[in-house]
């Protein structure tokens, strides 16, 4: 047992627990209203939103998995860098429109918007179900991040004793999410992000210096890992995979319910736009973390007998924790591991709130209890946030971790199928609601088949003529989805199929608070 690390870890964990409960009194309002519990009253300003979105997008799993991918596969793992740098201009242009229309009409979820825009309960249900399906394994993966650092501090025993810290951590998380709603992760994300920045800065200054500097580290990486493999005859190889992984991830990310929840909780369009210029600070941190994957290679943590058991159990996900154990003093390992664990709690809380919002608004209220008052909604959402978390915990404890990873990968390919409905819907409702539903259905099946046929690898080797174009399955499948939606729309318009009412008017999409 690593006592100094564990002590620091517990102190920091205790601090955020207190914060989580205190959050209920922060900007006090009636938390028995879904708008307050589930969206923090839509009152978060630039700074809170910066921490909240940063804490939400850059999850603990990201911080473990991105360097792990670089550690194992090399340059391709850096697709996270173009991904995060393209993300912000895209969101800057597109998503203030979602904030505006949601603010104008009191929409809490993307599915609320779809229902209002297309007048289609079916399409709204599809968007809600996709969101919930994609979010559940994502929550489970946050637990993997906590599991790895808890094990690294000496709780590797397995059985109930090994799992107990994880259960305790999650019970605490569930309790303060229940009482404080979105205010809890918003407040905790400040601590989380500060710890992450401290850890990243320490890691990229202290560790490379001990290994002979940056140049030396890059020199120690095998040449075939250092760059992407160039295209060969009739095969675009890693180039297309790198570009489509980045592009597909950009298009998918803000369709995730937890991102939309954080976005809608901000107080104005200006808050979102300012943040799109400020959030790349996290991209820099992520790029540096990705580089730690190479540092771990050169440090030979993989060959260190002290970590052999962990690598056997957690695979390359142990690369960064091993690096920290090897080069940081024990107390600072506590800080770094707390950063990872708290970094898992923030997105897990937001994800469970977002999934609860979706279920409450778009399944419970839409189908099961149309008479539900806002207080009923809040009560239901609170209860659901608990159920969602217990489900995620059970999944991680009783099902092999690889399943959660595979499902999260599928989730990314699924959530992007709502792109034509949601993002194009922000500009025009020319696409017919049934055409969108058909495109969605094809996209879901196609993306699932693509991912499963490659044994849960994200890239699919598309054959066009005598060319092979390996690329992100989510990206390919959403293109097919979109083409089907366009073609069927043309057919439906020709057949003069019934149109439904639109709740929104063009000015709603530019609306701002004054």
């Amino acid at each position: 047992m690593n006592w100094p690390a564990l002590t620091v870890f517990i102190i920091l964990f205790g601090l955020v627990t207190v914060l989580g409960f205190v959050a209920a009194r922060w900007r006090q309002a009636d938390l028995n209203h879904l708008n307050e519990w589930g969206l923090g009253g839509r009152r978060f300003g630039t700074i809170v939103t910066w921490f909240l979105l940063g804490g939400d997008l850059y999850t603990a799993y990201t911080f473990i998995a991105v360097p792990a991918l670089v550690f194992g596969a090399g340059a391709i793992g850096f697709f996270a860098v173009p991904y995060t740098l393209m993300l912000y201009p895209f969101v800057y242009v597109v998503y203030p429109r979602l904030w505006s229309v949601a603010h104008r009409h009191g929409y809490v979820t993307a599915s609320d918007f779809v229902r209002g825009r297309y007048g289609s309960p079916l399409l709204a249900l599809l968007v809600a179900v996709t969101g919930i399906l994609a979010t559940m394994p994502y929550i489970a993966l946050q637990l993997v991040g906590i599991q790895v650092v808890i094990a690294a501090m000496g709780f590797a025993g397995g059985g109930l004793m090994g799992d107990l810290p994880l259960i305790v951590a999650f019970a605490i998380l569930a309790a303060y999410t229940y009482t404080s709603g979105l205010r809890a992760p918003a407040l905790i994300s400040v601590v989380k992000d500060l710890l992450i920045y401290i850890t990243v800065i320490a890691a990229i200054t202290v560790i490379p210096a001990q290994l002979g500097g940056y140049g030396h580290i890059f020199a120690g990486i095998a040449p075939d890992k250092l760059l992407l493999a160039a295209p060969t005859d009739h095969n675009t190889g890693a180039y297309g995979a790198y570009a489509t992984l980045a592009l597909g991830s950009v298009l998918a990310l803000f369709l995730y319910p937890h991102c939309i929840t954080a976005l809608l909780s901000s107080s104005s369009r200006g808050v979102i736009k300012r943040n799109m210029a400020l959030l790349p600070a996290y991209s820099l941190a992520l790029a540096l973390l990705a580089f730690l994957g190479y540092v771990a290679v050169v440090a030979h943590v993989h060959d260190d007998p002290a970590y052999a058991d962990y690598f056997k159990h957690y695979g390359n996900n142990f690369a960064v924790p091993a690096l920290m154990l090897k080069y940081f003093p024990a107390w600072f390992v506590g800080v770094a591991f707390a950063a990872v664990a708290i970094g898992a709690l923030v997105p897990a809380a937001i994800m469970s709130i977002a999934a609860a919002n979706l279920f409450t608004r778009n399944i419970y209220k839409a189908y099961l209890a149309p008479q539900a008052t806002p207080a009923d909604e809040a009560k239901m959402a609170k209860l659901l946030s608990l159920i969602v978390k217990v489900g995620a915990l059970a999944f991680i404890l009783f099902v092999p971790t690889q399943y959660a990873i595979n499902l999260q990968l599928l989730g990314g390919a699924w959530i992007i199928q709502t792109l034509p409905t949601v993002v194009i819907g922000l500009y025009t409702r020319w696409l017919h609601r049934w055409a969108l539903a058909a495109g969605w259905a094809v996209g879901m099946c196609l993306s699932t088949w693509m991912v499963v046929s490659q044994q849960f690898k994200p890239t699919f080797p598309l054959h066009l003529g005598d060319w092979t174009l390996p690329g992100y399955a989510a990206f390919y499948s959403v293109i097919v989805n979109f083409i089907i939606a366009v073609l069927l729309t043309l057919a439906f318009r020709t057949a003069r199929l019934a149109e439904a009412a639109d709740q929104t008017v063009p000015a709603d999409y530019e609306h701002d608070v004054t």
Partner: protein, 65 residues
């Protein structure tokens, strides 16, 4: 309604998406040289592009786009 003119907006959208196209044009930066202090071009270029993309987004905000 008040706001930037259509043309101004369109020009800014094009500017905003320049880093976008650079970032997915892989052959442009998939190379070792010119390296800086032993850091291959592939890595420092994309790192620098994060800063450029952020600066462009910030400039768009200043221009009230």
């Amino acid at each position: 309604m008040a706001g930037p003119g259509r043309l101004k907006r369109s020009v800014w959208y094009v500017i905003l998406f320049i880093p976008f196209f650079v970032a997915i044009w892989v052959p442009l930066f998939n190379r070792i040289e010119p390296s800086i202090y032993g850091i291959p071009f592939f890595y420092w270029f994309q790192f620098a592009l994060i800063v450029v993309a952020a600066a462009v987004t910030g400039a768009a905000y200043k221009a009230k786009i």
